[in-house]
Amino acid sequence: MAPPGPTPPPDPPPPAGKAGEDVILRTEGITKRFGAVVALRGVDMHLERGEVLGLVGDNGAGKSTFVKILCGFQTPDSGKIFVEGNEVEFHSVKDARAVGIETVYQDLALVPQLTVYENLFLNRELTSVGRVGVLSRRRMRNLARQYLDNIKVNMPDLNAEVETLSGGQRQAVAVARATRLNAKILLLDEPLAAMGAKESALIMELVKDLSAQGVSMIVIDHNYAHLFALCDRLNVIQQGSVTVDTRVQDTSIEELTELMVSAFRRQLQAGQSALGEITV
């Protein structure tokens, strides 16, 4: 039996590069628990304007819960959220949208049987003839084309049903919908999941262009190669709090991998010893 090894405390977060210059989103001590499980134990994070921030962490580290709180899907038990310096409280996804936070869910939330432009305008359709709500399809198509051109996405057929699109095209539609109405902050949950290398490259370029246009982004991804290509800064979330805050150029894939692997080994050891205690 392995002796119960003491778990070393997580490393204190190193000071971030140049915090506070033009911070668009900031959180202070966000906590959330589900029954006995503590998902978040005080998350302090900030996002600068036009920056792409990557969230790294094992399954169950709290990344998803944190993002769900930021997009208004869940409410925190305690802690504060500031958007452009003003404290905000989100009770629904609508509240978050109202201050310019949009989310691209991992399942993309598209209707496969509807066309590209119908999905882009879903529940924000352009209509005529007053309350009857007759769809102005031509106006929607033109605007959709204009917008997709703006963000430099080439979609050959706006009338194609989303079901017939490739994964990359679907992702582009979902991102386009999220940013169409002047989103300031975009939350992307695994934007490159289940995508080939070529399509990943296209989505990465889209993200970089949006970032250059001033959209600030938080990206969740398990693939370090993706994150290093996409992000300016990385936050490592371990056991419900941010343990590392570093600029991408100050770290490496190897260093991050080593960090995650050693943390995993410690937990595994702790887990095994706990199991040992049970069986003995």
Partner: protein, 346 residues
């Protein structure tokens, strides 16, 4: 098959045509069109049925015969397009047939027992139909009971109400003024005209209005629709109400024509043909896909087969057997073609 991918406009990229075909004997565009039209199968078999019965019988094209066929077709068409709204939501309304029978019975009861003028009785009856749809819808979306079960229960409930209150006696209906009667179902072509008008209205609602788009979105991906802020529960309840009202309306029209009513008629026998019409027309049971035109042709097909088998003197014993085989074969072709079409588009 190659497929257009997301390309970025670094350099102007010529738009890639979304389909690449050209193998096979038929010109690719024709083949593509046939395979992609969900109504293709039902149109083909309807034409075949007309040709077959035109050869086998002498009087299928006589005006009198066509007028009888359209009277049979009216309720199938109207309840069928109502069910399209249900099927596109991945729901079903099995009580629509009983509503079709109960609505005229409400009219009779309100007129005969409550002393209401016929016109007012009709309006009141339609309001009751809307209330039935509202009940179906609320139980489905609020209490989470599958609509198949909710509406099956409603069908028995309504049947029971009519039997209890009428004590199972046949009733003569009020006679209306002649113009009214002609417009409201008494005229030979009234059923067809009303059927086409209602089908056109529902087609427009589904394909060209915001509400229709929300119906399709709700049926296609309920979670995505909800995340986009569409009130999915309210959309569903409205559809339940529409089905009930149109079914009740065509029922009232039919009874004005038939003059007498039999409380023993059973709605479940009536609702199945419209559902079959919608499904063989190309509407998917799984939601998100609907075709009102297909339902129209499906209803036409069922009426022609029914009429044709009657005219050719097929024994009633063979009738259901043949109809069953036809439906099964049609649906197998439809499903297989659908799979092929999806592969073709990718």
């Amino acid at each position: 098959m190659s497929q257009a991918t997301v390309t970025r406009d670094r350099s102007p990229v010529p738009p890639v045509p979304p389909y690449e075909a050209g193998r096979g004997f038929l010109p690719a565009s024709v083949l593509k069109y046939i395979v992609q039209r969900r109504e293709a199968t039902v149109i083909t078999v309807t034409v075949l049925a007309v040709v077959y019965f035109a050869i086998r019988t002498t009087n299928i094209f006589e005006v009198a015969n066509i007028s009888v066929t359209t009277q049979y077709m009216g309720p199938i068409l109207v309840i069928g397009v109502g069910e399209v709204l249900m099927l596109v939501l991945a729901e079903i309304d099995l009580s629509a047939g009983q509503v079709y029978l109960t609505a005229p019975w409400f009219v009779y009861w309100l007129w005969h027992n409550m002393g209401l003028p016929v016109g007012l009785a009709i309006v009141a009856s339609l309001v009751l139909c809307a209330a039935i749809g509202l009940t179906n819808g609320l139980i489905t979306v609020l209490l989470g009971v599958p609509s198949l079960v909710v509406t099956l229960g409603m069908q028995f409930l309504l049947y029971g109400v009519v039997l209890v209150v009428s004590s199972y006696t046949q009733e003569q209906l009020p006679t209306l003024g002649s113009t009214y009667a002609t417009i409201l179902g008494g005229g030979a072509w009234a059923d067809l005209c009303w059927g086409v008008a209602i089908a056109a209205a529902i087609w427009f609602l589904l394909k060209h209005t915001r509400f229709g788009l929300h119906v399709t979105a709700t049926g296609g991906n309920t979670l995505a629709a909800a995340e986009a802020g569409i009130p999915v529960a309210r959309v569903k309840v409205w559809c339940f109400m529409i089905v009930s009202v149109v079914s009740g309306w065509i029922g009232i029209l039919d009874l004005i024509r038939q003059i007498s009513m039999d409380p023993g008629s059973y709605g479940l026998n009536i609702v199945l043909a419209p559902i079959v019409a919608a499904v063989i027309g190309g509407t998917a049971l799984t939601g998100g896909r609907a075709t009102v035109l297909g339902t129209f042709i499906g209803a036409l097909f069922l009426s022609i087969v029914d009429d044709g088998l009657n005219l050719t003197g097929v024994s009633a014993n063979w009738f259901y057997l043949l109809e069953g085989i036809i439906i099964l074969v049609l649906m197998i072709i439809n499903v297989q073609l659908g799979r092929f079409a999806l592969r073709f588009r990718r």
